[in-house]
Symmetry: C2
Amino acid sequence: MDHAAGKPVDPRVLEVTKPYYTEIFGNPSSLHSWGSEPRKAIDEARTNIVDLIGAEKKEEIIFTSGGTESNNLGIKGITYRNRKKGNHIIISAIEHISILNIGKFLTKNGFRVSIIPVDDYGFVDVEALKEEITKETILISVQYANGEVGTIQPINEIGEIAHDHDIYLHADGVAAVGQVPINVEEENIDLLSISSNDLYGPKGTGALYIKHRTRLETIMHGGGQEHGWRSGTENTPNIVGMGKAAELAKLEMPKESKRLTKLRDKLINGLLSSIDESFLNGHPTKRLPNNANVRFSWIEGESMILSLNMVGIATASSSACTSKTLEPSHVLIAMGIPHEKVHGALLMTLGKSNSEEDIDYVITNLQDIVARLRAISPLTPKK
Amino acid sequence: MDHAAGKPVDPRVLEVTKPYYTEIFGNPSSLHSWGSEPRKAIDEARTNIVDLIGAEKKEEIIFTSGGTESNNLGIKGITYRNRKKGNHIIISAIEHISILNIGKFLTKNGFRVSIIPVDDYGFVDVEALKEEITKETILISVQYANGEVGTIQPINEIGEIAHDHDIYLHADGVAAVGQVPINVEEENIDLLSISSNDLYGPKGTGALYIKHRTRLETIMHGGGQEHGWRSGTENTPNIVGMGKAAELAKLEMPKESKRLTKLRDKLINGLLSSIDESFLNGHPTKRLPNNANVRFSWIEGESMILSLNMVGIATASSSACTSKTLEPSHVLIAMGIPHEKVHGALLMTLGKSNSEEDIDYVITNLQDIVARLRAISPLTPKK
């Protein structure tokens, strides 16, 4: 139930990567024939990603070390390259922590960063976004969907606004790619960040879609791999694995996303209908098929996580990468949920391995856990 | 014979990484128990690297996506963090292309970069280095050993000079770590870049040793993993694999480096003694055990590579990451070898799989190939 934090690699993915560790280990940049097979395999992986996101050609795909690097490259790459054109960028308040921190870094380095609020469901306030646009604006970065509350943004509309003003649109697609159909061409996306592990591919690998003719400044200086935009010897096995994962995601998404949506709704409805003072975070339908985020009044998310852990269920209180800090989720705060209620939020992300029985098991256990924790919570109103 | 470009992953390394793809796939930053096993495994990997390079404690090791990122983080991290102290850094003329390109980037961004020449063997001119030091100097970056000509630098001496002037020393250890014993404490190294694949670990992973109390600016903004210095979800299987590779390197280096040194000298002496007008690039003894770089007058390295390829031998003309460009090696040029002779250089890097018979096979074939290419080369002097 914590698939957003880390996924197992699909066995079919693992299988295709194997020869690239021990047999086809040449350097794709080498002149001899040992380099040509990895080179070809990497190009095939690019094509699989092109097919998954509706891009035009393989040259638009750059491999990175993961979603965080893709976000860094996409945003810093565009801003530094277009510094002479303008120094203003726009992001939303519920972006991934990497993008919020890139924003802070840019603010310290001569850029102006506007942070757009979201409504109760987590939708970006499009009117507020429009009002922030100036002649200095060079980039808008809005996530395709939020990994924590599952809300899917009106990216197409935001992209149209961006392009009407000759502004680039970067979308963080880490939580969305492979979960919902995406078409970068139709949805006006210039740059899209993708994570391999979120597609059940190997960790430590990601990709950045860079629309044809878009130019970036590199952030990783070196041997000039990936058209000079991302130096470092190519991680051939992981890239091949990510390509396979993208192929499988494209193939299986129609069926799997229906199955997950059904499980998700069973989970959400089961909890909301059987536990008093439980509320859905995010939108009921415009949300990722794998995402259920429910808050329970008067108790702490951390206590729920640990109790669920004891009965073999993994969950999260907020995005995995920051959950160790125990700070309240910046996403829920931005959605206007009061501090004391944010702490009662429980994030459950479903995946391939989850079944109907899992859902029943979680609901039953959560009913007990919530009742028990409320009984000992000083916050619970006395009856 | 092209182990510098890409190495197979050691089967023992591959074995230990397996469970981390499909079973122990939790996020090391997660609160629940699925996160604690990966967290522990990553810490063990740190300890293995500490042991290999003579560091003090595991907190000094940061995992990255490879040698290129380690170089970027080490150099940009120190320079941006110490900008107020000074804006001058010193590198050598034969650094890896990533470091030369970082130098160009820094030059464009308000820093001054001095490039120190090397002698005929590729040794950094220590006197010239001393003369470049000013009160503004904050970092010296010199590679531990050169991957192309194998020359091992007097790092200890350079480190002493750096520390006498309160300057940080970064050493690019990509070509050296695992080949020769390194002790960062004794050798005055503050930052050391390491690549996993060069230790027969998985590609796409590396590490940066950062001496206790040294502070960096991050270059990858995000969730604050790796003490905030390198954000991005940890690539657990690769990190575990790199740890195992480091453990094996430490264990097997004494024997393997002796074996490789013997093979290397057999190869070099076999070629120099049987082929007229053939010369060793780099120093005969102060060189990496796995490195043989020989130049042959009047012929092109590329023709040799392709001819050797046809008899099943992989080699390189210069560093793999730039060999596609066919530009003459900046290392050999810096060593004062004339342009027309640089093109006749052949880089052979030995590894675990190479045997005495391989060496004999290469020598015999190269004798034929050199003779044939010289017979048709317009550069060969008429007798």
